[in-house]
Assembly symmetry: C2
Homo-oligomer: 356 residues x 2
């Protein structure tokens, strides 16, 4: 049995979407069991609509829920021990659930998860890993918005955790890694990225193949399996990709409506357009995974549909099914040991020297 | 007469493309005169193919040229006073040319321009402004890769210069400005963006309307005329947009080839696809403008075609025709005065307090 705690109140539409999403997910996930957390009056009427869920779920009424516009610090202060989001996360901490899924306020989810689950030993800050559809297969990009700015050590940890996640999800042995950078030589302010690059290229680690720096346009080509960056540029990259896809789709629609020929052409090509939509559909891969914590927390888009939310649940399920957390903890520990040996032999000064 | 100095050797293809590009541009730009800088043996044979250029250009043979892979510091050291890139920039400094266009090494172009032309008084570092096609009209995004990291003052200067450029290019009176940010509240490391936001919202400046923070997906919607960000995230945003457009175009092509119906549909819709391509074609708007220097320098894509390079020349021409440099210098001076009054009245401490 894989037990998933769901912050039923989270997201723009609350229980109507999250419970419907759970009902969809249930059909595809044989071993799933849900722990639903939410406000009684809001959840009960919706739950009644899905009798199939009864046998695979348990509902826990909570005192409050975290609003989408609450500031993280405030959400933590007033929601701690009370809100549906808090309880869903705490269920993971207490071993009652194997992973937690929420479409709620990202900042609050980050703050509560960080506070409640704590970081894995020797890691500094969590990152959010997102799945990015590319011309080859899906890639993983992290951090897409958890932590602004990142030290070389954090970037390296992101690389290791991203690789663990990639191998968990896609069942491969070797994972390629790229550090997101800009193409200009000798630029300032990127010392942490350069240092991370040196560590990743010098510390040999089974299953992880460091490919060097990549640029923004390499992500969509699927040049590497895991793209590592700090949260500010990662979030901007993600949002720009979404925006560009949206923009092209609107331009395409209006172009196809522009003449009688193209309208007819559109009718003939509908299956092709459906195929395209599916390939670039970010909702298909809805669900960012918070990595670095002592527990798996999956963040769904706030505006997710029931079907999108079911994708986030599926990701939370797969992560447990493939023992992601165990892999991450083992991989990080092993990498940190190798890194320590490298740094002791060479000294940090080598890194500083090489970056100049 | 508008005199444009061209680093003929720059770019992946050198004179074959740059001179062909000049020949295309010449047909559309009534008052243009070219100053070509390059290696004699490489340029002369190509120039001969374009007799129409003879009457509107002068060729200056140079000792060397800057290679695409040279490090900026090295390019400056060995190319100063010698390379075609240097001479093209110096022509602007000496008042022999009104603007300079190069498809060469970005870092070298930045370094040489900075060294040769110097910054406009009271500005710190240059930014590169790019034109970004959106669902509404074209927007301007800066900095797309000149300077990594930016202080609040630099971001504010980018906003003022971007607005001057937008008004120059599109002949409008009011320009809307947005600061690129991530959606998460209370994030760390963004103090400079927050400070810039306070200055832009508090200092009233005619023709400039500050709209607050925008996210990556707002750029493609054309939510504001000018998007301001520091060079690292700006470059990643630009490259991700290019990559996503490329990715969708490839997926679309392969989807349209997937069945006999869609192939026929494609034939019927060709004019629609051409329309789409034109709308999202970044080459149409090829040419990043270095802003903040005492002179106009336009950077073309290194891989530009002749037609793309002619776009960069057109941008260099328009900037002069619309007196961009004069506008920028006046606007910056005026804004700096207003900013000083605001800061003296309120003190910098107000800004620091408001950002907490």
């Amino acid at each position: 049995m894989i037990r998933i705690s769901v912050d039923v109140m989270g997201g723009d539409y609350g229980p109507e979407v999250t419970i419907a999403g759970a009902a969809i997910a249930q059909k595809h996930l044989p071993k799933v069991h849900f722990l639903f957390y939410g406000i009684d009056e809001a959840v009960e009427p919706v739950l009644k609509k899905y009798p199939d869920l009864l046998s695979v779920s348990h509902f826990y009424a909570t005192e409050s829920y975290t609003r989408m516009d609450e500031k993280p610090s405030q959400a933590l202060r007033v929601g701690r021990g009370k809100s549906s989001m808090w309880h869903a996360i705490e269920a993971v901490k207490n071993g009652e659930a194997d992973s937690c899924v929420s479409a709620g306020n990202t900042g609050a989810l980050m703050a509560m998860s960080y506070f409640c689950l704590k970081m894995i030993a020797e890691t500094e800050r969590p990152g959010i890993a997102g799945i990015w559809p590319t011309l080859r297969n899906d890639s993983i990009v992290l951090d897409i918005g958890a932590t602004i700015g990142a030290s070389a050590n954090q970037l390296v940890d992101f690389a290791v955790m991203g690789a663990s996640m990639f191998r968990s999800l896609y069942n491969v042995e070797k994972t390629t890694i790229g550090l997101l950078n800009v193409g200009v030589e000798e630029v300032k302010g990127l010392d942490e990225i350069k240092k991370a690059g040196i560590i990743l290229s010098k510390v040999q680690f089974e299953g992880l193949e460091y490919k060097g720096f990549i640029e923004g346009n390499d992500i969509g080509k699927g040049m590497v399996d895991v793209v590592v960056t700090e949260g500010f540029s990662g979030n901007i990259a993600l949002k720009v990709a979404e925006g560009t896809a949206q923009q092209i789709s609107e331009l395409l629609k209006s172009a196809m409506r522009s003449s009688i020929f193209s309208r007819f052409g559109y009718l003939l090509s509908q299956s092709a357009f459906r195929k395209l939509k599916q390939k670039i559909d970010l909702d298909r891969v809805n669900g960012g995974v918070l990595l670095g914590l002592n527990g798996i927390v999956v963040k769904s888009h706030g505006s997710a549909s029931a079907s999108d939310f079911s994708s986030a649940i599926r990701i939370g399920y797969e992560m447990v099914n493939n023992e992601l957390l165990k892999k991450i903890i083992t991989d990080l520990q092993c990498f940190h040991e190798k890194k320590a040996i490298f740094l002791n032999n060479k000294g940090e000064s080598v890194i500083d020297k090489e970056t100049i």
